[in-house]
Amino acid sequence: MNTAVFTKSLTDSRRALAGWALGTAAVGMTYASTYPSQRDNTASLPEALREALHIDATAAGYLHASVFGVILPLLAMIYGVSTGSRALAGDEESGRLDLLLAHPVTRTSLALQRFCALTVGAGAISLLVWLAMLAIRDSAGLTSVTPAEFLAQCVNLALLAVVFGALALGLGAALGRRTVVLATTATVGVLSYTAYAVAGQIGADWLAYASPFHYYIGGEPLKNGFQWGDGAVLAVTAVTVLAVGVMRFNRRDVG
């Protein structure tokens, strides 16, 4: 199988990807290292508020609520969406897709190779976040979370980026319009987060099950380690939205 597109996608994006990975890891490290000072503040919050925000005073609880609960997934989503929307819709709008598709490459192969490059990127970002966490684990008082538990959460972080990347790539494959892709995925992102955050409070637990965030962090990998079922749901979701987008891509006109 010809993997020229995959290789090219990665080499073209190597600088941007390095920036993303270093930036995300740095942000995660900065927030996580404030744990010792935040621990006391967290402990002083009212019980009900802590409950609502899914936080407690443990290291896992703090990371769950702040670093891995808000900042990192947001960055992962933005990475997934921006990379996924550029992958096909961006190329199509600029007219570059024509040239690639005039070569002996099937549309399915093109989409899959771009998706694989995106997945490798998501993995690289998460790997660096994991290494950053290990680096400050002692100094920031996070030793109650094992390296495996950090890894479990980082794997889910990568999968979250892949889900939103697949959504953006699949929509781009189906529609070919980058602005539509960005607007739709941003809406889906906000709705997913909201659904996950408020589901418990409005007594609609079922709502959380519709949100990728639930599978990303609901199983509390920082406390419970690998959540294979949740990971599988994310992976299957990604593959499904990608497959639907590619099916439509194969049937429509490009350009």
């Binding site: 010809n2 007219g95 040239l99 005039a102 490459v105 006109d253």
Partner: protein, 309 residues
């Protein structure tokens, strides 16, 4: 296989706009086919259908005996394509980008790329983004020719090229045809294709308006002539020639000027009876033949809400 491209009643509608309306056309193996028409007549639509970038509303296309939809990968492996508005990734230098496009085809000998770039005067060390329009077009030409495909599909290939490079391009086309390979090139200017094309098809409003060999078109074409004589000739010396109404003697009856349609044979024979001191005849202007087919054509495809519903 006699025909490289076979189009049967090929129709493409874009919503209410009509791109192609039942185009039937055959392109033979080893010929250079000029595909002419005004902007918006359906040339690019046809070409994009051949490569399976878009799909026909009805009708069929066969390229190299293959179906664009079902056997697109093999079809495109054996075809070189240059888009009308060649757009490529600008971040890389020319060499790296051409190597990537070669890799998409499973590798192309660097020698082929270098030879083409040298002939066209393309510096491979420049970043594509920094290239002028003409130089970017050269990148497009190199990528279309570099794998020596059986069929070249070129949409307005000479756009932005200076006359010298245009000549190099025409040489490339001639060499390709001499190899027994086929070139299908579109243009909106006849003069671009008449030097190399064996046959031309003229498309108008999504239909084939005319199809003929260049030689035949030329036979019906018009030449401007001017003949000067040593001594005045009789007033009615050329009055019996076919098409004589387009020729006229000046007041001194020593200069005959005007136009000859088709073969100049009769005129030459009539001239032989006099002492000629000068003779000037222009190349037949196929452009005019072409314009006669254009007459009445609209610049853009017609909107036909009644048929598109």
């Amino acid at each position: 296989m006699e025909n490289v491209i076979e189009l049967r009643e090929l129709t493409k509608r874009y919503g209410a706009r009509r791109g192609l309306a039942g185009l039937t056309l055959e392109v033979r193996t080893g010929e250079v086919f000029g595909f002419l028409g005004p902007n918006g007549a359906g040339k690019s639509t046809t070409i994009r259908l051949l490569l399976d970038l878009i799909r026909p509303t009805s009708g069929t296309a066969t390229v190299l005996g293959l179906s664009p939809r079902a056997q697109g990968t093999e079809l495109r492996a054996r075809t070189g394509y240059l888009a009308g508005d060649f757009v490529c990734d600008g971040r890389q230098n020319v060499r790296g980008y051409l190597r990537f496009l070669g890799a998409l085809r499973g590798g192309v000998p660097q020698q082929h790329i270098d030879d083409l770039a040298d002939r066209l005067g393309l510096d491979q060390n420049t970043r594509i983004r920094k290239l002028s329009k003409g130089n970017r077009q050269k990148v497009g030409l190199v990528q279309a020719f570099m794998h020596r495909p059986e069929l070249l599909v070129l949409d307005e290939p000479t756009t932005g090229l200076d006359p010298l490079v245009q000549q190099t391009f025409l040489d490339l086309v001639t060499e390709t045809a001499a190899d027994g390979r086929t070139v299908f090139m579109s243009s909106h200017v006849m003069s671009e294709v008449e030097a190399v094309a064996d046959r031309v098809g003229i498309i108008r409003d999504g239909r084939l308006a005319a199809l003929d060999t260049v030689a035949h078109l030329r036979a019906g074409a018009v030449r401007d002539v001017e003949v000067t004589f040593e001594t005045p000739v009789p007033q009615h010396a050329f009055a019996d020639l076919p098409g004589a109404d387009r020729l006229g003697l000046d007041i001194t009856r020593t200069t005959l000027s005007g136009q000859v349609v088709g073969s100049p044979d009769a005129l030459i024979k009539a001239l032989a009876g006099y002492s000629v001191t000068g003779l000037r005849a222009t190349e037949p202007a196929l452009e005019e033949v072409f314009h006669s087919y254009y007459a009445g054509a609209e610049a853009a495809p017609r909107t036909s809400p009644s048929t598109a519903a």
